[in-house]
Amino acid sequence: MISIEEIKDLMKTLDASSLQRLEIKNGDCSLTIEKGNSGKAMVATPSAQRGKQEFRSGAMVEIKAPMVGTFYAAADPEAEPFVEVGSAVNPDTVVCVLEAMKLFTEVTADCGGEIAEILVKNGDFVEYGQPLFKVKV
């Protein structure tokens, strides 16, 4: 048997990897985990899911949605947006928040560079893995 903890662990590992699908057979017990936009993807933590990446300078990198939710460019309707086209970002810069079930989750750039393009509009509902920003690194 495979314990729930082990399955959770496998899901996280799969999410952090470049693999799309994982199949395990152990005696008469088998388990298939596939990446997708369904609820199981929510288990991944933002940083685990995007992983550490190395980029050549000048390359374009996308900041992707770590979860499903409503995209907000600012902390509240009257506040300045976190970033605009041309803003410099470092890996810890908060670039937007995603709202799901009344909770707001901050999305960090996870790379350094300059915001080249904002791919979604304020208030858009975004899917897991959907590109939100293009960053020139």
Binding site: P46, D76, P77, E78, M101, K102, F104, E106, T108
Partner: protein
Amino acid sequence: MSFKVLSPGLMSTLQDFGRQGYQKEGVNNSGAMDIISLRLANMLVGNDEHEAALEITLAGPTLEFTADTLIAITGADLSPMIDGISVKMNRPVAVVAGSVLKFGGCLKGCRAYLSMAGGYDVPMVMGSKSTYVRGSVGGYQGRALAKGDVLGSGQAGSYARHLLKYLLCKGARSFRAASWYVSLPHLSGKEMRRPIGILQGLQMGAFSDESLHDLLTKQFTITNASDRMGYRLEGPRLLLKEQLEMISEIAVFGTVQVPADGNPIILMADHQSIAGYPKIAQVIGADLPRLAQMRPGTKISFREVPLKEAEEQLLEMERYLSSLKIALKHKA
């Protein structure tokens, strides 16, 4: 989880939902001025929402954490900083033992709430941990915090213990804040500018037509003589049609009474149990938390709302809080 008070700030008292059911014996209710911020602060650290939190007024205290502690700060933005680094609000924050929490300038609102996972370990007095300073009842030795006080917590639940461990293992020199937060809809700029909703007071009919017109059309200023007991307002004087001899009767949080000088007083959380001045209006429950965040000098206006709308606004807030509770369960 615990902290030591290095400097107490202007007025920092423990407050919960207040002493309910004792007003008939002449014991006032007390409790948090902004009950929504209190409830959210508790929910964020996994406490029962009725738990006490530290209500911090305008100028905050300096606190040194004596153990790893999970906290949340909600309500007014008093520029909280831990070891010199700004701390984001409205989210759980894991603080490392030895770190020092300070507050800076008051940027928005008037009262911040600091919750601690497990709640504050002070005795219940008449069913509440709320501090009533004038009566030296409840809270931490019946008074506002003072230098050298040490406040410990009760038993933190599994949500808080798990979250504290999770945040600290992500690496923290002084503290680590969660990357998610909740919004306080009643404190948005738009909300804070809206007129305060009122219902008719028990003696509204005794006031002159001109005064009633002024009440609903003119602005009033919250004066410096305002505290947890009541907000004294200044504006057009509100006068009776003719002198009224009254026997003192029940007063509650939000009752607007008018002494003979014509300057209204809104009774707040530490209000007396009975009041003898004519009551022109009653602030609706849904608007008390944001009224509590308005500081002396703020200009306010009033709008009469039907009872049905007053109830609907309160229900809307409750629906928001219950959906948040469900979302937070998923975070655990």
